[in-house]
Symmetry: C2
Subunit: 399 residues, 2 copies
């Protein structure tokens, strides 16, 4: 049975080795939907966005994009005008062979920042890549987009005759030299471009923004959502009956991919979830959650399994969000470590509360819950700990 991005009908995919990675592992991938496929995307907010991001953003704004050509090995970021030219040329070469409009093949890259795209080997490999396209090519696709990922990442869901599939790569928002989180979702529902954009904004944006390995926003982060229409029937619109089922299936696939991404986080030994409630609005809640999961002191405490409520208070207080210190409560698991802004003196005196928190932190995933008042704002953000391994991966020079 076909999995991942080719689980929905109306898609073909493939992944091959084109010699872009020194290791010789698969490094060139292609996904294409049937004629009539629509697309929507979310891209990095990094001001130094990579060339493929610049082109992809523009083409999707014009309602183009039915296929995506992904290379791993070179990020094509920090490459200036040459990078734009290389991305346009390689995706256009694929389009010519596929006999589709050049603007309909979106370029996507992940790998070393600054190193130019290896244009000639890419173009020479395209006929072989296109020959390999198959309706069960999802697995080959998800392997060829990997960089320092230790496992391929994919997920599927279906609801009311509609299928949704997805593949992702990234060991965090960014990894050492081989940067970037890339995610591709597909559905065989028929969805107009404008509605697909709404779906991406509503179901994908909050989920992928609430994920942080190290607080570093990549130059290449991309989430693409394609709809082939191969399931047939009337277009699914926001006021039609199947919309909710489609949105739920897309959300389910996204949740599964986010979970796979954070569990494969670079050097991470433990998933840390920050749940905020009672903030003035969701934006304030999100800022507080990011402050907690991105704090190096909270992350090292998570690595050590040490509750350290003072560090959580420090992170909350430094988030640059208006709050009443006396309205702040903190829990790790069920252990109530801060009550109305105060760490109970018993925390230091008898150790029972600390032991409860320590027990909660001993698992592979634990939650820090912070209530900051009585407002309606809520947020849930995924992070991970900061380990020796993170320093080793990112600090050791490897030629």
């Amino acid at each position: 049975m076909s999995t991942g991005v080719t689980f929905p009908n109306g898609f073909r995919a493939a992944g091959i080795s084109a010699g872009l990675k020194p290791s010789g592992r698969p490094d060139l991938a292609l996904l294409i939907g049937d004629p009539g496929t629509t697309a929507a995307g979310l891209f990095t907010t990094n001001a130094m966005a990579a060339a493929p991001v610049v082109l992809g953003r523009r083409r999707l704004a014009d309602a183009r994009g039915r296929a995506v050509l992904v290379n791993s090995g070179q990020a094509n970021a920090g490459t200036g005008l040459r990078g734009l030219d290389d991305a346009a040329a390689t995706s256009a070469a694929a389009a010519a062979l596929l006999r589709v409009d050049p603007l309909d093949v979106l370029p996507c890259s992940t790998g070393v920042i600054g190193e130019p795209l290896h244009v000639t080997p890419m173009i020479e490999a395209l006929p072989r890549l296109i020959d390999a396209l198959a309706p069960d090519g999802g697995e080959g696709f998800e392997r060829a987009i990997m960089t320092t990922d230790t496992v391929p990442k994919s997920a599927t869901a279906s609801a009311g005759g509609i299928r949704v599939g997805g593949a992702a790569k990234g060991v965090g928002m960014i990894s050492p030299n081989l940067a970037t989180m890339l995610t591709f979702l597909t559905t065989d529902a028929r969805v107009a471009t404008s509605d697909l954009r709404s779906l991406a904004e509503a179901e994908l944006k909050p989920r992928f923004n609430d994920l942080s390995v190290d607080g570093c926003t990549s130059t290449n982060d991309t989430v693409l959502l394609f709809a082939s229409g191969a399931a047939g029937g009337e277009p699914v619109t926001p006021d039609s009956a199947p919309w909710a089922a489609l949105a739920a299936a897309v959300g389910e696939v996204a949740d599964a991919l986010v979970g796979q991404l954070i569990r494969d986080a670079e050097g991470g030994t433990r998933v840390l979830i920050a749940e905020i409630d009672g903030a003035a609005d969701d934006g304030a809640a999100r800022a507080l959650a990011r402050a907690v999961v991105d704090s190096p002191l909270v992350k090292t405490a998570a690595f050590g399994g040490d509750p350290n409520p003072g560090r959580i208070l420090q992170a909350v207080g430094a988030a640059d969000v208006d709050l009443d210190p006396a309205g702040v409560d903190v829990w790790i698991g069920d252990a109530h470590l801060v009550e109305r802004g105060t760490i109970p003196p018993t925390y230091f005196a008898d150790g029972a509360l600390e032991a409860d928190a320590r027990r909660a932190m001993a698992s592979e995933e634990f939650t820090i819950r912070v209530r900051v008042g009585d407002g309606p704002g809520r947020s849930r953000t995924f992070g991970c700990d900061l380990s020796y391994e993170y320093v080793r991966i990112n600090g050791e020079y490897t030629t």
Copy 2:
């Protein structure tokens, strides 16, 4: 000869062991100026500010404060109403023995967040502390304010018959359990409170804000500046001749203390200076500099001595500052690693440029310079690398 905070005339100081630290090391310090001493202060922007910060800020706003009572071991943060009461009570007890108004003794604390102040041993130790006050007590003072500092930190300067001295503690903006950066400066110039506040804003605020060990703003950070007037003569005002010399001497002492703080940074093996120019304004330049020195990917690259220009571009681009990617240039030392937004392909091809950058990074202190355009905004920020030792200090649980 008297050093540090007692180098200027008109001050007495002392530091003793009061049993507040389990280690038995000195942990209670007092500094007092002659009658007529004026004071100004800068405090943490953390919303969960510690009790002594709340009281100190209020008292200085009322132009009070001639002395400071500092304890190390407990931060008196996250302690609620009890913390305010404890800080007021202990400083008032010192004031009664010193026969000064209770509002004139500022409280200051550093240590474990959440643990209540050890009020009884503090009050019992006060007579001994006050007996020890001496015009050459600066050294005892600077030892008693230390937490995980490996060396005491002090500096002096003089200009035109005016003396300036200072002491500081902190292994970063915040350290593992024993938080906080505290800095105390003294001068024997005669300066009115309002002018002293201007001096602190102009000469101290930028210097202490441009210092980041781990991006974590403590709940207790405090910088206090006292002026005893013991040098005699007319008050020094912003339009009087000695003002510039006084400002320069205060700046010189502050620079020396900032340098001592960053060199003693927790787990730091290397000082990293980010110099930004060409930004729209100084605020934008400061945000860019902080993004560079606080990036865990730049910090681990600094630890490994690996230039990695892509990570610098990533950090600059993610700083949430409007900029033209094609206007960005980056140097490490003299190695020009990014030219108008592009990493030169020769960087990857021949290795000479990388070798130049690597040589610059091999020293104990190196500079990453980023030009982002033609604007007037500039900034210079001090940071440090992220090492295994930082993870060990902050991640290992120690009972």
